[in-house]
Amino acid sequence: MEILKYDYPSAKSPISKKVHVGVVGSGDLEILLEPSKDGLAHVVISTSVNGYGQVWQDVIDRFFSKFDGAAAIEINDFGATPGMVALRLQQAVEKLK
């Protein structure tokens, strides 16, 4: 297991609710997205697969290139592919609306 943390200080638009998607099952992940306490975006990832920090960074960077919510995001991952991660993030944003 590996824990990764990323900060996105430029994502500042306020969000108003908490959103939960997914399940910590094989090839899947859960995402908890909620308003961040300091008004900046933070991501904490626990993943069952070690050594993929750069891939995670790329996927999350790409997500925050389109999303600017001041969200505290917790991801609990059980071997999801980058495509799956992107879809779950998208689903969480859909549920925010």
Binding site: M1, H20, V24, G25, L32, S48, F78
Partner: protein, 289 residues
Amino acid sequence: MSINQQSYAATEKFLTRKSFIEMDALGRAASILDGGKGRVLLGPFDRIHSPWLAMQEIVIQEDDGVILLKGTIDGKPALVISIESAFQGGSMGEVSGAKIAASLELILAEHTKGRETRPVILFESGGVRLQEANLGLAVIAEIHSAIVALRNKIPVVGVIAGMVGCFGGMSLAASLCSYLIMTRQARLGMNGPEVIEQEAGIEELDSSDRSLIWSLIGGEQRVAIGQADVLVEDDADEIAAAVRRSFNNGVVSQPRSARVDEYLAKLNEYDPARAADPIALRAAWKKGD
């Protein structure tokens, strides 16, 4: 109606049904409640997760794989306890198990004050979570005693839909319920087929023989030998209706687990040296029911 029309109608019904098995734990729980709606208690944002998994380098799930959904069934307050099979095989750890045991105990405490809440448990569990061994076993025992205490006051309705099934200590919990509803796809057994093959050898049980496994521990067989009550299709509406009928049937005065003499007599008649014959077992075990 011609045979063709009949089979067409059956196919149409199958295709338009809402599969229960394909839903996650939250979707399943919601489909049982009136209007498909409820309020999650101790949800993921409460972050009541297992303290033991991370120590063993295993990723947690924030609700520890048990969803408690409060709502109503036929207008009466109800709590659906739904186990998420995708997370650690629906295994019972300290937290997931405590969520089940404590909510059943709360329902009992409320009942003594005259407030009735209908308990439904959606079982989908391999049993104890091995990483939390003794704590998991202890809490499964608490679940057992909570069901036994509660079922004298109000029916405790269990559902096993599949595809994980219900094994180990949780198979005992399912068997203690007032009413047990199963699909054909579901399995109920103390030891899973793989465990039996591993421990006793392939001569004892070939766990890859799916038709054999389901003929022994599948939902159809469990209902046929009286160890489960209702056989349903994998259809959310049908399962919700079966749950409602069970509550209408009321408290069971003589639950299966109280009929000790009857089951001991059946076991004494059974010759374990002979290979199990599921059809013969149906005839023998249904006797006296």
